[in-house]
């Protein structure tokens, strides 16, 4: 770093006497701010989660979009308030400070605070907000960073799956469900072929881009039937003063979850280095769609590559060619021996992929009155 303070002297010191009397005085550039309140469309749905057939948890789907389908804001603070009997537990403490959501009927975020003062610990903290398709840890900061899934410059990595025999790390995305240990969480990221392929480095997707949101964010809380309210605060330039607020409600009419989703069958390649087949069974009772999530954890680097298949109600066998297991699609292909390949299925009663980016640009994608999901257990192989 070449810090030559002579320039500083010219700018600050010398200028006091002379140069700063110069004729370069300026004014603030004009700024145009469209009305966020009017231009944004908020949808909120709740439902149940069949968690591997072992528990029934709480599911949310939120869409908060502009007219072009992009996220309505880059920062907001959500608060979900449940009906009587909805009790949050398991929200972890941070640096010894307890999470204020525990024991209450709300799942909240922390509003912006005066810098230098302590911020209360909440489920979403100050990083979590509602975006175009689900809640995400993507609230903006002054670093200018785009907190997209997999951003290597994002806000830290979340570790998943240790309880299932593998470890995947991914920044700027929630592992699910909330309130279970990190080891038991899984990422639900939509990759190709369910969405257009973004793995080719010449396509120009941001470095490390992992995929798209699936829309649902789940919590290890037993959901009673009733009305759930969502409140969003969109901050303005000054702490404590919002530029917009949004309120909506969702109805959980039935606490009966979907049927249990079976793990997919992952077939080892017939010959080493060959294609991998994944077989998904028919959708469980109540589900109208299924998504097969595949994660390739590079054995050499630990990098994750996400794939997804829109498996439909019927399920079926889906194939990933061998070349797809090379995260960078490098040529010649990198050595992927000993990659860990992880596959799991989610059943749902709405079209998870159909409402997702980048193909859906509707300000209000179609959602049923209640959005239920069924999480299947993962199956893991070591790729040979």
């Amino acid at each position: 770093m070449r810090v030559i303070y002579r320039a500083l002297g010219a700018a600050a010191g010398i200028s006091i006497l002379a140069a700063c009397t110069s004729g370069q005085s300026g004014i603030q550039p004009p700024s145009n701010a469209p009305n966020v309140q009017q231009n944004s469309t908020l949808q909120f749905r709740v439902g149940t989660v069949n968690y591997h057939g072992t528990a029934t948890y709480f599911n949310t789907v939120v869409t908060f979009r502009q007219a072009n389908g992009l996220s309505a804001t880059l920062y907001n603070t959500p608060t979900i308030t449940g009906p009587a009997g909805f009790v949050v537990n398991g929200c972890p403490a941070v640096s010894g400070a307890a999470c204020v959501d525990n024991g209450t009927n709300h799942i909240s975020g922390t509003p912006p605070t005066q810098p230098g003062t302590a911020a209360v610990v909440t489920t979403f903290a100050q990083t979590g907000g509602a975006f175009s398709y689900g809640f995400a840890p993507a609230n903006s900061s002054t670093a200018g960073t785009a907190y997209y899934p997999g951003n290597p410059s994002g806000r830290g990595f979340n570790w998943f799956g240790a309880a299932n025999g593998f470890a995947a790390a991914l920044s700027d995305i929630y592992g699910q469900p909330f309130y279970v240990s990190s080891a038991s969480k899984l990422p639900y990221v939509l990759g190709p072929p369910a969405v257009p392929d973004f793995h080719n480095p010449s396509s120009g997707f941001p470095a490390g881009f992992a995929g798209y949101d699936s829309g649902f964010v789940t919590f290890a809380v037993t959901p009673p039937v009733g009305t759930y309210a969502l409140h969003l605060d969109v901050p303005g330039p000054n702490v404590g003063v919002n530029s917009a607020t949004f309120d909506t409600t969702a109805q959980l009419s039935s606490a009966t979850p979907l049927g249990t989703e079976a793990p997919p069958v992952v077939a080892e390649p017939v010959t080493p280095g060959g294609a991998v087949n994944f077989t998904v069974g028919p959708a469980p009772a109540g589900a109208t769609s299924q998504v097969l999530y595949v994660v390739d954890v590079n054995g050499a680097t630990g990098a994750n590559t996400f794939y997804a298949f829109n498996a439909g109600v019927a399920g079926g066998t889906f194939t990933l060619p061998a070349a797809d297991f090379h995260p960078s699609n490098s040529n010649p292909p990198a050595n992927t021996t000993n990659d860990t390949i992880l596959a799991y299925v989610v059943g749902a009663d709405w079209d998870i992929v159909g409402d997702a980016a980048p193909n859906n640009s509707s300000p209000a994608p179609p959602l049923p009155a209640q959005t239920d999901v069924s999480f299947g257990l993962p199956n893991i192989i070591t790729y040979q």
Binding site: M1, R2, I4, Y5, R6, A7, A10, A11, A12, G13, I14, S15, I16, L17, A18, C20, T21, S22, G23, Q24, S25, G26, I27, P29, S31, N32, A33, P34, V36, L70, S71, A72, T73, L74, Y75, P115, G116, G134, A136, S140, S141, T142, A143, G144, T145, A146, Y148, S153, D172, S202, G204, F205, P206, P235, G236, P237, V239, V241, S243, S330
Partner: protein, 1107 residues
């Protein structure tokens, strides 16, 4: 291509150059006259009004208060008087049989020929008088180079009163000159260091940065001359133009003035005075001028919210400036044809920020809880990842050195203890010149001068940067000495050729130190190659922070007694330290040395020039010149250890065996030959044309070439063997290798000892590449002028110009080349080496200067100056350092992008009017105008996609390599659906207008500053003095140019978030400091920042009395 051209030119002109040098030396030995840069010439032809006969033997006497000169016309009626001190002369022509005639008011300025051609009448016959013309008007028909002279009256008009000292404003009132976006005056679009500044023929720039040394205080000037472009051959190392100021001299009768003024609107006052005298015979003369300024102001009241007032550099300030000029001349010899001159200028400028508030109550940051917490947070999170143990406050305090001047832990560094403020800036300047001149005959003149400029600034900021951990304190010396001598001469050859020649030699000795205590913790605490800080704790007191990473402590503490580390490095008040007077071993901890920057390069500049002014007729003048500028860089060798490599050859384990350097001999001993050509032609009595071409050069500032750490800072450790705490073995990173990328990091460069290890650790973590040899920047200047004289002394001059630069200095990073093959990363993008200064910059400017003047002793007079300038450069504009540390992103360089520069307003002007009545009143408004400055980041940015450079939509994803961080864009992608680099999904913008190229949008045009003077002097009793009222900044325009808020939090289009203005780690702020609430927020919460940096509206009441 450029290199080829340079070499071809050098080869082809070698013969001519040799001849020119020989000629110059031969001529130097001849009796001659004329000091090229600070004296002028009077010449002309005397004829008879009857029959136009040329008259020989006419006695010509030029008389002015500052001197008397004589000559006799030759058989062709021609006379020439060289070496004339600038002044306004009455020239008397006497010959038997003819009526004695006096030509009045012939003004001589430096470097110019004043024409005094006249016709004499035979006795008893009368003809009309010849009227001389002012040299300050726009119509100068014999002026060959583009040049603007400002005399004392115009200086008064522009600055509002006699003795006005605002040199920056005076400069900005001249065509071709303008303020850059940070308020520094530049010429024809040059960068801050690309211009020459001379006072009394002395280069008034500092030895390290090549910036002005006099704080832009105008004191004692008789004439102010600006020469945009190359000028004639006597001007060198001046980049895009030169400023040449000549001091007043003592006269007979004596003159003097005293002024006292006080200002309202801020606490400020000034005492100024000048006095010049000479003995009646002109042998002794002296001129002295003093200017004492005291100034204190701040924006907003105490405890103002920095967010609201936009101030970020501190609240209250207090400055004082004392400037003393003395110019003594002793003349002797026949007709006083020889002289000795001793000129001296002493400037003391002192600025204290946070004056009257702050430091008295603040302990230095090694006991400040907030600062300590920041250290802990950053070291914990940034060095070793989260989750590890942090250094305790006591552990930090035990090893962090005291800031210079701090006596003990918890000392309040400032206030009553040592009258030190939050931030202190001191700019002294001591310049002197001893000059000998001789005029063997009226047609020849020779001067020899010895001079020295000594200016080393002190930046003493013990509390700077409290919102950040690093660079939190700073104590720096910058500047140095310039010592030189020069010979200049002129010789009239016949009536048509005026020969000028000269040589100079300068020795530049820069001074640069930059100590920082907090940066030491950064440099040696793990942000470089290793963690030397661990060595400074005893093994028994090794922080868990280090042991958790397998590092053992105790290495340096074990040497404490044996090597007798200085007492200052042992801190007896730190909780962990035990430093009794005796040699007790072991101590528990010793303080780290400072992180200390420095430089190791001196430079010798030399120049030779030869020029001829050929005047075939009174209306046609031709200047031909040749100049050779050279430099001898006395810098360390550009070795594998010190220089920035651009490629390397590796052995099997990828350890490089040799580096390739992109430098040649032009960087060490450059010589630049510069032809100059200028022509003037007076087509009619009132119409004139001129054209000039010149190549000019600017040697890089030493600051751009050598920033190598201080060896002496670590000398206490020289006898201690090197040891890398991470490995327990001697360290192997003592070269630039660790900075040039992973592959080269394997290069083994053993450290000679522990001092060497600390030196390179600091170099790696703080300074970067030590040595970046650079070629000189060259410019090709073309300009053309048409001028016209209207009735009533109104004249205009319009000058289109074009200037193209070569080898301009800009930093960039280059792809590392291994065994001839470019290294790429996993994404196919080039692996870049470190950023370093190169000659890859280029720029070109075209524009037009316009000047209108009206001269009158009474009634309306004044000037209108306009400059249009359109400059393109490959440096990305609007970055804060564009004008001083220009840089080019590699992708942009590869694409060959050119941008309109961001530091210039494309159209600027100044109107200075004066209405002087015969009843003693003077009304003097001055208005400056700019058409706005470029400010936007641009909709396109250069970046790589899979190894291919593109101009991509500029978003927070793509612009990271353009402006250094993702915060430099004004468009933000949807974080959940970002799109591609080619088709990003823009989720929000700052809501402000933008154009494709960076800097493509201008700020609003402004008339600023505006000042008004009303003054009265009794016409019946002028000695009673002058009383005046000067209102500066009439409309109280305080705020500078909007700058992109790099701490902007986007919420939605046009909506900023509440953390805007704070650093990305929003908790790293301290709520109150410097007496300004929210000080450490430092930046505002809007898309662009506006900072007050102009003086507030001030009403100045002054009284001047003539002595």
């Amino acid at each position: 291509m450029l290199n080829e051209l340079t070499h071809r030119t050098k080869a082809g002109l070698r013969g001519a150059m040799t001849f020119a040098l020989l000629l110059a030396f031969v001529l130097c030995s001849m009796p001659s006259a004329f000091a090229q840069v600070i004296t002028g010439t009077i010449q002309g032809t005397v004829t008879s009004s009857q029959g136009n006969t040329k008259l020989a033997g006419v006695q010509v006497t030029a008389q002015a208060p500052s001197g008397r000169y004589t000559a006799t016309t030759d058989p062709n009626g021609f006379f020439s008087i060289n070496g004339v001190t600038p002044d306004t002369y009455n020239i008397t022509f006497t010959r038997t049989g003819y009526e004695t005639f006096t030509l009045q008011g012939v003004t001589v300025v430096q470097g110019q020929v004043a024409n005094a051609t006249t016709a004499l009448n035979q006795s008893l016959q009368r003809i009309g008088r010849t009227q001389s013309r002012s040299t300050a008007g726009a119509f100068q028909p014999t002026q060959t180079t583009d040049q603007y002279n400002v005399n004392t009256q115009q200086i008064s008009t522009t600055l509002g009163k006699q003795g006005g000292n605002n040199e920056a404003n005076l400069l900005a009132s001249i065509p071709g000159a303008s303020f850059d976006s940070s308020g520094y005056p530049v010429l024809r679009g040059g960068r801050e260091y690309e211009e020459g500044f001379q006072y009394e023929g002395i280069d008034y720039t500092d030895a390290f940065t090549h910036q002005f040394v006099n704080s832009l205080i105008l004191n004692g000037a008789s004439n102010f001359q600006v020469q945009p472009g190359a000028g004639d051959a006597s001007i060198g190392n001046a980049g895009t133009g030169a400023i040449n100021v000549v001091a007043k001299r003592g006269t007979s009768p004596a003159f003097g003035q005293l002024e006292a003024n006080t200002r309202f609107g801020r606490f400020s006052h000034e005492l100024r005075g000048e006095y010049g005298w000479a003995t009646p015979n002109g042998r002794y003369s002296d001129y002295a001028s003093v200017d004492f300024n005291r100034d204190a102001f701040h924006y907003g009241g105490s405890n103002s919210d920095a967010l609201l007032i936009g101030a970020f550099f501190g609240g209250r300030s207090y400055s004082w400036a004392n400037d003393v000029v003395n110019n003594f001349v002793y003349k002797f010899g026949k007709d006083n044809n020889q002289s000795l001159q001793f000129f001296m200028d002493n400037t003391q400028f002192d600025l204290r920020l946070g004056y009257g508030v702050g430091p008295q109550g603040l302990p230095y940051k090694d006991t400040d809880a907030f600062s300590i917490a920041n250290f802990q947070a950053n070291f914990n999170g940034n060095v070793f990842g989260t989750g590890g143990p942090a250094l305790t406050a006591n552990q930090i305090q035990a090893v962090m050195p005291f800031t210079p001047g701090q006596r003990f832990l918890g000392d309040t560094v400032g206030g009553a203890n040592n009258q030190r403020n939050v931030e202190n800036y001191n700019q002294p300047n001591m310049t002197f010149k001893l000059q000998y001149s001789i005029t063997p005959s009226s047609s020849s003149f020779l001067t020899a001068k010895f001079y020295r400029v000594d200016s080393t600034d002190l930046f003493d900021f013990p509390y700077a940067g409290t919102s950040t951990v690093f660079l939190g304190d700073l104590n720096s010396l910058q500047g140095g000495q310039r010592t030189g001598f020069a010979l200049d001469g002129t010789q009239q050859l016949g009536s048509k050729n005026l020969l000028g020649f000269g040589a100079k030699y300068d020795f530049l000795h820069p001074i640069y130190t930059q100590r920082s205590a907090t940066t030491a913790l950064f440099a040696f605490g793990g942000f470089g190659n290793s963690i030397e800080a661990a060595d400074f704790y005893s093994a028994a007191n090794c922080p868990a922070f280090y042991t958790s990473f397998g590092v053992t402590c105790g290495y340096i503490t074990g040497y404490k007694t044996a090597y007798n580390l200085s007492a200052a490095q042992c801190n007896p008040t730190a909780p962990l330290q035990v430093c009794p007077a005796g040699p007790v071993d072991p101590v528990t901890a010793v303080q780290l040395p400072y992180s200390d920057e420095g430089t190791h390069t001196n430079r010798q500049d030399w120049a030779l020039y030869l020029k001829d002014t050929y005047s075939p007729t009174d209306r046609l003048k031709l200047d031909l010149g040749l100049r050779l500028d050279g430099a001898n860089w006395r810098m360390p060798a550009c070795t594998i250890l010190l220089c920035a490599p651009t490629g390397f050859t590796a052995v099997g384990n990828a350890a490089p065996t040799a580096f390739a350097f992109n430098y040649d001999s032009d960087t060490r001993q450059p010589r630049v030959l510069q032809p100059r050509l200028a022509i003037s032609w007076q087509a009619t009595r009132n119409d004139a044309f001129r054209f000039s071409y010149g190549r000019s050069v600017q040697f890089p500032a030493i600051a751009q070439v050598d920033v190598t750490g201080q060896d002496a800072a670590y000398s206490a450790f020289r006898n201690i063997p090197s040891r890398d705490p991470l490995t327990g073995a001697p360290a192997t990173f003592c070269s630039v290798a660790p900075q040039v990328g992973g592959q080269v990091a394997l290069y083994q460069a053993p450290c000679a000892n522990y001092a060497d290890q600390l030196f390179w650790e600091n170099q790696t973590a703080v300074l970067g590449i030590p040595l970046t040899p650079l070629k000189p920047v060259t410019f090709n200047n073309f300009d053309f002028s048409y001028s016209h004289l209207f009735p009533h002394q109104v004249s205009v001059k319009i000058t289109p110009f074009y200037n193209k630069s070569y080898n301009q200095i800009a930093s960039t990073a280059q792809q590392i080349v291994k065994n001839g093959v470019g290294v790429v990363d996993a994404n196919g993008n080039p692996v870049l080496g470190p950023s370093f200064n190169t000659n890859l910059g280029k720029s070109q400017i075209m524009g037009t200067e316009f000047l209108l003047t009206k001269e009158a002793a009474y009634g309306l007079s004044g000037s209108l100056s306009l400059t249009y300038q359109n400059e393109f450069s490959n440096v990305v504009p609007t970055s804060p350092s564009e004008d001083f540390f220009p840089s080019i992103p590699p992708a942009s360089l590869q694409l060959g992008n050119l941008y309109r520069v961001g530091y210039l307003s494309p159209f600027v002007g100044a109107l200075a009017l004066q209405e002087r009545t015969r009843t003693g009143w003077r009304i003097n408004p001055v208005v400056y105008y700019n058409h706005g400055y470029p400010y936007s980041p641009g909709l396109l940015t250069a970046n790589y996609v899979n190894g291919v450079p593109y101009n991509l939509p500029n978003t927070n994803v793509t612009n990271s390599s353009q402006l250094g961080s993702a915060a430099g864009a004004d468009r933000y992608v949807d974080p959940r659906n970002p799109g591609t680099a080619f088709r990003p999904n823009i989720d929000a913008t700052r809501g402000t207008p933008d154009a494709n190229a960076a800097g493509g949008v201008l700020t609003a045009a402004r008339f600023t500053p505006v000042q008004l003077t009303v003054e009265y002097q009794s016409p019946r009793n002028p000695r009673a003095g002058t009383i005046g009222l000067l209102m500066f900044n009439v409309f109280n325009q305080l705020y500078g140019q909007p700058a992109l808020n790099s701490r902007y939090q986007p919420i939605a289009t046009g909506i900023a978030g509440p953390y805007s203005g704070y650093s990305s780690s929003a908790n790293s702020v301290q709520p109150s400091f410097y007496g300004i609430y929210n000080y450490t927020q430092r930046q505002g919460n809007r898309a662009y920042l506006l900072t007050p940096n102009n003086l507030p509206r001030t009403v100045e009441l002054y009284y001047q009395v003539n002595l």
